[in-house]
């Protein structure tokens, strides 16, 4: 018995000895979508400055925000990445925990693509087609405003101009930010083009959201897990299927998959950055102003991230598939970030 007691005492001793004192390394958490870009900046920052390479955890936007808003101090992260803007509730909870001064940085955009294997024909569709093909409930094709369970089986049923192949879309599960963005931008966008549903938005916002955001569950939409590489592999094996994944995976696999035109635009660097390709989302990161000067290197990290060589049109982030902001926005926000201007949420 005494041995157990001794070991437990030893365990406690070791834990208190190792307790955290000062931290000399930036700690970053947050979105898995921003992760591939933030890591590039962090690695470069670590190589070219006298500071340690920041540590980046991939926790998802929501999880990152929760950690970030937990409070001020070395045990809390300094920066969180996010593939959406901070929510009002999150901002409030940050404030309640003493994280009052937050610097918001919009870094660029990420396109979400609908693609199929290069062995089949390249498709062209509207967001309305996407909604009709993938929603759980759609307006009765035989007329009337009533919503019925999605009856469409082939793409040609949705829109006669589309080929006569079975609707099969491989996409990420609901826990994924890519899925959220796809549903919000592509499906809700298509929803608004249908008059009977658009009318609901004005009267009942919640049921409008439910109609537009619910994906069919009868096998036409296949959940394939969070790994985008897996979706690309599945498309290669099944030329009739379409897949949903981020733009950087399309770029890397241009020999295997081709994008679908949405509302007449192909996802390219240009069409995403000027906003004509409709399915793209902003990428952000948030910094605690109180940590600048306490944790060494945060100001320099911000400077590295917002330099032209990194987030510019010819920068290394663009090489990795991030769509840069336009030049004026970049210049003005780089300036306000250099002055550590904090955000307000209206």
């Amino acid at each position: 018995m005494s041995k157990i007691g001794l070991t437990i005492a030893g365990m406690l001793l070791c834990t208190t000895v190792g307790a955290q004192s000062a931290r000399d390394q930036i700690s970053i958490v947050g979105s898995s979508t921003v992760y591939p870009f933030a890591t590039v900046v962090a690695e470069r920052f670590g190589q070219t400055s006298q500071y340690k390479t920041p540590k980046i955890e991939s926790t998802g936007s929501g999880g990152g925000m929760k950690l970030f808003c937990n409070g001020i101090g070395v045990q809390h992260p300094d920066i969180t990445n996010s593939s959406r803007r901070i929510k009002k509730g999150e901002f409030e909870s940050c404030k309640a925990n003493g994280v009052t001064d937050i610097i918001e940085v919009l870094i660029g955009f990420d396109g979400i693509t609908l693609a199929n294997s290069v062995d089949s024909d390249q498709l062209e569709m509207s967001r309305k087609d996407i909604f009709l093909a993938l929603a759980k409930q759609v307006p009765d094709p035989n007329g009337g405003d009533e919503l019925i369970d999605n009856p469409y089986e082939d793409w040609s049923d949705v829109n006669p101009e589309l080929p006569e192949i079975k609707i099969e879309v491989i996409g990420p599960p609901p826990t994924s930010g890519t899925r959220d963005a796809f549903v919000e931008l592509a499906m809700e966008g298509g929803c608004k083009d249908i008059e009977s549903i658009a009318a609901i938005e004005k009267t009942d916002k919640d049921s409008f959201k439910e109609i537009c955001h619910t994906v069919r569950e009868d096998g036409a939409f296949i959940e394939a897990g969070e790994n985008d590489n897996l979706i690309v592999q599945k498309l290669e094996a099944n030329p009739d299927a379409l897949g949903i994944f981020g733009f950087s995976f399309l770029e890397q696999n241009s020999d295997l998959v081709q994008p679908t035109y949405i509302d007449g635009f192909e996802p390219t660097f240009e069409s995403i950055s000027d906003g004509s390709y409709p399915v793209s989302r902003p990428l952000y990161f948030y910094v605690k102003k109180a940590h600048i000067g306490v944790i060494p290197g945060i100001a320099e990290y911000l400077l590295e991230f917002t330099s032209e060589g990194s987030w510019g049109e010819e920068g290394y982030l663009a090489d990795k598939g991030m769509i840069p902001l336009d030049e004026d926005t970049r210049l003005s926000s780089a300036e306000s970030i250099a002055n550590f201007e904090t955000m307000t949420l209206d």
């Binding site: 041995k3 190792g18 307790a19 591939p36 985008d228 590489n229 770029e251 696999n253 290394y316 598939g321």
Partner: protein
Amino acid sequence: MNAQEELNTTEVVRGSLKRRYAREKRFRLFGLAAITASLTFLAVLLITITARGLPAFKQTFIQLEVTLDSKTLGVGENPDTNELRRANYNGAIKKSLTTLFPDVKKRKDKKALYKLVSKGGQYDLQKRVMADPSLVGETLKVWLPVGDDTNSYIQGNIDSSLPEKKRRFKDNQILWVDQLTEDKQIQRRFNSTFFERGDSREPEMAGIKGSLFGSMLTLMVTLLLSFPVAVATAIYLEEFAPKNRWTDLIEVNINNLAAVPSIVFGLLGLAIFINFFNLPRSAPIVGGLVLSLMTLPTIIISARAALKSVPPSIRDAALGVGASKLQVVFHHVLPLAMPGILTGTIIGMAQALGETAPLLMIGMVAFIVDVPTSLTDPATVLPVQIYQWADLPEKGFVEKTSAAIMVLLAFLIVMNAAAVYLRRKFERKW
């Protein structure tokens, strides 16, 4: 029993004999089929991983003549460390490429040309110059790693018959690389980077040293904590504890703990070690603490089984010649049970080596470039590294992922081989 009946029984037995033999044969066949099927799956798995991962152990290098004059590097006379660290090595590499191919004039073509050399090449140069500042002003012949796409072209993973638009590696790049190969300025060598560096976002610069060290540090903590605690627990429960309701309750709880999903231990670790004891996030010490919570029940159960299998006659004999209870346990029972305990421990360790779920909660699923050297440095572990590489868009990471799996498997095989060896060496039969 008369003769008539006896004959009948023999006939009955003889009649059913064929069926019984057939039944046995079928059973053997099923068994054989099951083993063949599982071996086939294993073989397919190992072959695909090896086939994909082997190319990662070789890396393509390009020979360049780089002039490190202070003007290109953008450093003054007698530069200090900081200046040398920030110097424009990339510019020097670009310059040497454009002197090699002076016909390349257009911006777009130049960009394609620069992509031949890895972005990590500048860091190699930086390291050399910082180690020897007198190199500034010299012209060096250096071998630098090539870029991701160039590497996969050299490996034959890019089909040059595809139309140019569908390839990441363009016609002019193929032309340059073919010429360089002819001039013997491109070479495939053993990829020492893979074993010498931590994580990177450039596949050609990424290594497993960081996660390998992270795994070792974490497992060390796990072993040091869980082995003594588990053995002491097992000895007490098996040899000293009275059999009553309390010990029954403890036994049931230990058995239950062994079946708890590992993520729960991660949550526990987050609440206790990080939030209460304020230990740093992402540190091997926290990882080791969490994993030892997870492996404790496994080791306790196997240690108790090993203690139980020591024949009571040995205990009786020792007690008979006057040994105390403690002497009986430590002089006789424990040494005899040790092989079984060690086997259980190593199996528990192997389990801990493959865990990712509990580490997610305590921040060890992270991008960490620097190789950890102490228990409080941020670190990640091998399975996490594999999971992260599998998720990245760059194609070069496909082979790195498989190569990392091979390293993890090698680690596991070594541990299991050690378990088998220890068992064979110390095993006693009665």
